[in-house]
Amino acid sequence: MTAPIEVSGSEAEAQPDAVLAGMERKAIQGRSLGQIAWLRLKRDKVALSGGAFVLLLIFLSLPGVTGLVAGWLGSPPNDFHQNLIDPTLGGPLEPLGGISAEHIFGLEPINGRDLFSRVLYGARVSLLIGVLATMVSVVIGTVMGITAGYFGGWVDTLIARTMDVFLAFPLVLFAISLVGVIPRDLFGLTGNNLRIAILVFIIGFFNWPYIGRIIRGQTMSLREREFVDAARSMGARNSTILFKEILPNLVAPVLVYATLLIPTNILFEAALSFLGVGINPPDPSWGGMLSQATELYSVAPHFVIVPGLAIFVTVLAFNLFGDGLRDALDPRAR
């Protein structure tokens, strides 16, 4: 990480930004906080490249685009190419995992399916679950965090205790056992659609305290600020203060921590698929491929590298962008 991530506002590295923003404010007109943040973000090339990769990945995961790109640079994710596989060992016949113009990421051992299109379709599942689960966490976390931080007292004690319990939960163990007891069809959903819904629910529902704690802390300090006092002395009701005064000030931290929660959730989904309770085969998922690779790494080491790198690069890109976003939106934040 090259950007100064733990710099306080008055420190040297943050100052050029502040000075710059101040000067430009005079030269042009006023700049909103969002514009200032965007100026800072634009100068952080590392964060921008992370963001660019995330955008590319989202574009490639759009319905229609995935199939088109997979057909153009590879072959359909469930087409077997067993003529290219060594029948005794199970690895691809060609060196380097069978990388060729037709199969740019090589071939899956045993069945010889195209790894590029499997990784591409895997990205779709990872992103979908990562983003949806984060949304669940953000909604629960924000509501709980604001309630605890604003009202205080026994409400705060109750919610803070609940968050402690959730944070101390043996989450992976719980997730695998819950997925294990869930029947084949539920709420009209079956197969992998049901799996995705359950994974989103479990991951999202158990990660909300991470957002909740931050929002609670922020709300507690916002509650004491002058503008809230002013609103209250003018006779504003609690709901007005919450929605008009406090919530708008929480947009930045929510945005930052949501961005940083997505990679965590992507890793979580990959881990669950790796443990065999995520997406069911033959649908491709990164964790599922690595799970198969536990038996095959000796004949096809590329089968570890390709999906593993996909996870690594995606998670890293989200982390880089999230860190940059945090620095841009609140240079004083750690």
Binding site: P170, L173, V181
Partner: protein, 320 residues
Amino acid sequence: MGLLLIISAVTYAIFFLVPRAAGVSSDDIAGRFAGKQPDAVTLAAIKDRFGFDDPVPVQYGKFIKGIVVGDTYDTGTDKIDCPAPCMGYSFRTNQSVTEQIVDRAPITFMIALGAAVLWVIAGVSIGVLSALRRGTIIDRAAMAVALAGVSLPVFFTGLLSLAFVVHKWQLLPSVNYSDIGDNPFNLILPWICLAFLYAALYARLTRAGMLETMNEDFIRTARAKGLPERTVVFKHGLRATLTPIMTVFGLDVGLLLGGAIITEKTFSIPGLGQLALDGVYQSDLPVVLGATLTAALFIVLANLVVDILYGVVDPRVRHS
């Protein structure tokens, strides 16, 4: 203790409420307890014995009672004694759950504690070094590695090291982890992979905490007193930084003691995590339930130890 009760209640309720809400009958649940193809006698005995038609709170009471005073299972043909702490009996493996957990626990302990020692030493020292040399090439390189580290899951680094270090380059012997007892250093690869991930996390945490602490008033006071910089950094700065890190450490170690699931699965190590995982794969509910409860117990215990250690490390806690 309260935490433990809540966790066990929640696990229990969910295990039995979810299948029911989804329309699974008590026969099915009894079947899951018994195994894949139980005969009618076993099924009826299990249903009667466990009281699957009782309300959930009653079932939960029985479960807790078994842990406190033990239990006896009557399968119709013979009686199986399950002394306290009885966490249930697996009709699939014909073993009490407590027995299986006691069997598997040592290896998970070795994985978790070995890795914990490595990652605390590496993570904290790298974090302190980075904070003290902020902005230098050392700091930047360390933080770049740390950011990469938190993006590398164990099931990737582990498989990668198995494929290359063990198989291709043969730098380390291939180990059969099922009889690990003779030489704990056979666990070196799992330790390193697990510790790398956590060390990266802890380096980031320590650096952030250290930077904040070193700006505090008491550090300025310590420097003004003319204390040597080494004393200021280690006796004053590091101590205050360690307190929040210890909280996280307690949670992390507690979680791993209950089963380093991903590490165990990656390296095929038969620990608590593998036990729980097998329980899930084979629909062996008593095992899953027992393993989850054990995991919760370790988290609570680890937190307790950390609470006690607070007083030792941070003088502010001792005096208040």
